[in-house]
């Protein structure tokens, strides 16, 4: 399916738009999602205006939700398109070398945000929109908190 926002790239994500008690779904590509995240407070597209959260849409399964590459394609080429393609792999070894210094302070926040985003996804699937809206604001606050730390 082609992205319903830009009409250029393969759509990999289903976006749920919530206004009052109406919900709408739109299938969009990762590029548009990135743009959307960048412009969280500075909206560029009227449809995406009141978007709250995203949930992963997996058409045939075994598709990387971020870049749209299939597991089979990865097995054929041995090339990864994005960092989330690493979900196709099962590496038994653990990295024990250098780690980014700034990650150590930020990691905690990033993990919390990820966890809350998963919760949010579940709430949307269960159509519990009021609770979802509260969680969305909480995540937004955490993200701003993280940005502040980056600035310092």
């Amino acid at each position: 399916m082609i992205c319903q926002n830009c009409g250029q790239h393969e759509a990999t994500i289903c976006v749920v738009k919530i206004t009052g008690n109406k919900t709408e779904k739109q299938y969009i590509c990762q590029y548009c999602v990135n743009k959307l995240n960048e412009n969280f407070n500075n909206i560029i597209n009227p449809f995406l205006g009141s978007i709250m959260e995203l949930n992963n849409w997996q058409p045939g399964g075994d598709i990387c939700p971020t870049c749209g590459q299939s597991k089979r394609k990865w097995e054929e080429t041995g090339k990864l398109n994005c960092k989330d393609c690493y979900n196709f792999l099962n590496i038994s070894k653990k990295h024990i070398g250098k780690r980014p210094k700034r990650n150590q302070q930020e990691l905690y926040l990033i993990n919390i945000i990820k966890e809350k985003q998963n919760q949010l996804k579940k709430l949307i699937e269960q159509e519990k929109y009021e609770e979802a809206a509260i969680l969305r604001d909480e995540i937004k606050g955490l993200k701003e908190n993280k940005e502040d730390k980056n600035d310092k």
């Binding site: 990135n34 870049c67 041995g78 090339k79 960092k83 070894k93 024990i96 070398g97 250098k98 980014p100």
Partner: protein
């Protein structure tokens, strides 16, 4: 773009008679983008722009000095080829050069590839056997860049790279060695098998497998995950020292058993370079290998030779190196006719009067 030769050829490092250079490469990716193979041209340009800004900041300059960004698209084909011959860019980049770049330090011993297979590839070169210093400086560049970018990093997998064969530390150490005696007596075969068992590979520097020429070999680590950077470095270092000993033993044996024969080969190589009118890069490199062997054994020629002269020819004898040296575009046939002059000028042995 500069005509000068990179610092790793200066023959001032440790074990200079057998080890030409040591290098370290770190693969890093930035969290906000997909891997380069899946990026739009616009995104690649954005990343290039961000590097251009970063290298101008005082924070960057204080740590790493002045560095310049070269967009490969803006370089001529010969300049790109020359960067490849100096081992600063990859063969892949020669073809897929749009929206790629290299950030180069003044003496070309440090560089950062942009939008190659990974977003950033930090490289550091030293002459001779010196993995420690090469690693320290690459690590420092990494620390500086990390202040500007959020890297893709996974708690279990480490630094995420476009090809899973680099995941973890993203580090590749490699050492370039001159191994003529081990190539002659077949010792390389055994060394190659031994290295493989311990996660290292040896490759011909010019040409692959049986087609390798010039007796120059690169030894590097194969695995990047589950082992610390410094452990890889120390174990490669000890392997290199073992190989140096084996090469030295083989040379002693060679000169003991076939002194007349081997000296004859070396002097003929000298005579060949002195009087040749047509010379291919391959023939020239094979002769340079023999001269180097003679030099290492303390042989005297009617003109004194240095390792640095021989090292410089490794780069200058190549197609773009030659054209850069004479500041002239030449077809392959013309280059072979001009190459003897290059060798004679660099070695100061002109014989065709």
């Amino acid at each position: 773009m500069t005509n000068k030769l990179p610092n790793w050829l200066n023959a001032k490092g440790h074990q200079n008679d057998i080890v030409i250079s040591s290098r370290v490469r770190l693969a890093r990716n930035i969290d906000e983008y997909m891997f380069p193979r899946n990026m739009t041209r616009l995104e690649k340009e954005k990343l290039l722009e961000s590097l251009k800004d970063i290298i101008e900041t005082p924070e960057f300059n204080q740590e790493l000095g002045k560095m310049t960004l070269i967009r490969l698209e803006e370089a001529t084909p010969i300049e790109r080829q020359y960067l490849l011959e100096k081992h600063l860019i990859s063969p892949d980049m020669l073809e897929k050069y749009p929206s790629t770049g290299i950030v180069l330090g003044l003496d070309e011993s440090i560089s950062i590839l942009v939008n190659e297979e990974d977003h950033l590839r930090i490289q550091s070169f030293f002459s001779g056997l010196n993995l420690e210093d090469a690693y320290i400086i690459a690590d420092k560049i990494d620390d500086v860049l990390e202040k500007f970018y959020q890297y893709s990093y996974h708690e279990q997998y480490g630094y995420l790279t476009s090809c899973p064969s680099n995941v973890g530390t993203g580090i590749r150490f490699s050492v370039m060695m001159h191994l003529p005696a081990l190539a002659m007596n077949g010792g390389l075969e055994k060394i190659s098998q031994g290295l493989k068992k311990e996660g290292f590979v040896i490759r011909g520097f010019f040409g692959e497998g049986s087609k390798a020429y010039g007796d120059l070999y690169q030894i590097s680590n194969q695995f990047t995950i589950g082992v610390k950077e410094t452990e890889i470095m120390l174990s490669l270092n000890s392997k290199i020292n073992d190989i140096i000993e084996l090469e030295k033993e083989s040379r002693s044996k060679l000169f003991l058993e076939q002194e007349l024969h081997i000296k004859d080969m070396i002097f003929r190589a000298y005579g060949n370079l002195k009087y040749a009118l047509i010379l291919s890069a391959k023939e020239g490199m094979n002769d340079i290998s023999l001269l180097r062997l003679g030099l290492e054994r303390g042989m005297k020629f009617d003109q004194d030779l240095s390792y640095q002269q021989l090292n410089n020819l490794i780069v200058l004898a190549q197609p773009a190196g030659l054209q850069k040296y004479f500041a002239k575009t030449m077809e392959p046939e013309e280059r072979d006719g001009k190459r003897p002059q290059l060798f004679q000028e660099i070695l100061k042995i002109g014989g065709n009067k």
